[in-house]
């Protein structure tokens, strides 16, 4: 009785792992060579599914993603390099199909924009803070006239002795 309960608890504990391994790979024809298959999966993970947009074709169950995975495998089986396989898809669907956009003229702002904005912001902050410091310095540099100084001294002295009325 007790041991069967333990078994039940154990199987409940392990159930999620079973499900995980079941959803990780879709049922479809794989390449026989495990090295090539690993390459196919690696490329697929970097290809955007055009139907579901922010999933890779490796994660997507869409019909098109399935076809594209198959194409990636075929291209690799034909002996193409990773670059050539990606090129095949880019020719048809554009750079958008790559989850990692390439660095070129049309994507310069995408890649360098954040850095440029950061530098501009830092520059603006430095200018602002220096301006404020200068303001304080200017105030401290203003000299008192002799009559003002005498008045200040008189007030300070009267304060010291506590006879300020």
């Amino acid at each position: 009785m007790k041991s069967s309960f333990r078994l039940l608890m154990l199987s409940m504990l392990l159930a999620p792992f079973l499900v995980l391994s079941a959803t990780a790979v879709f049922i479809e024809e794989k390449l026989k060579d495990p090295v090539l298959e690993a390459r196919a999966l690696e490329i697929s993970a970097e290809i955007r599914c055009l139907v579901c947009q922010n999933q890779s074709i490796l994660d997507s169950n869409a019909e098109l993603a399935k076809d594209l995975r198959q194409i990636v495998r075929e291209r690799i089986a034909l002996g193409e390099s990773d670059e050539e396989v990606r090129g095949f898809l880019v020719d048809r669907y554009g750079d958008w199909v790559l989850l990692n956009p390439p660095f070129k003229i049309s994507t310069v702002f995408l890649w360098l924009g954040p850095a440029v904005i950061f530098i501009l912001g830092a520059f603006a902050m430095v200018v602002f803070l220096r301006g404020r410091n200068r303001l304080v310095e200017d105030e401290s540099r203003t000299k008192l006239s002799t009559t003002e100084e005498a008045e200040v001294n008189r007030l300070l002295k009267s304060d010291e002795t506590g006879q300020n009325s």
Binding site: L50, Q53, E63, L64, R92, Y93, G94
Partner: protein, 177 residues
Amino acid sequence: MRIRFLIPVVTFVGIAAMMWYALFNLNPTEIPTEFVSKPAPEFSLEPVPGYGPGLAQEDLATGKVILLNVFASWCVACMAEHPFFMELKAQDTVDIFGLNYKDTPDGAAKWLARHGNPYKRTGMDLKGRVGIDFGVYGVPETFVISPDGKILDKIIGPVSPDMFESRIRPLLNEAGS
């Protein structure tokens, strides 16, 4: 000098305007075709049984602007544009070729029998490979093909009369003049 306090406000208004525009005017699911002013890819397909001659790359160069419509009997949005294509055919505005995408011969033939056939030629892309060569990622899509068989534009989703006037008519007129 005193307008410096406006800088954050102006920055915010700029960002808000950009996002407002993107929210209502840009469609992230529309990925423009890579093929603009490139020749259509090579292919050769059998027709839907009983529906006109088949379709191949060289058939697209007709000497006038034509439409290549990607359709399927399982595609619900295709029914939305279908009556409009029938209308275009009745008025003889433009020739339309049909690329039947990932369908069964039987299903496609029945669908055309039920809804009418607006196509001069049809081709069955049973495996969807020709579709991928064309960069198709959803049905319906409609390519505008130049007189010499080059792709001029692609319309993603059903073609409405408004869209026809704004995006296809100018291309027709351009080639006509």
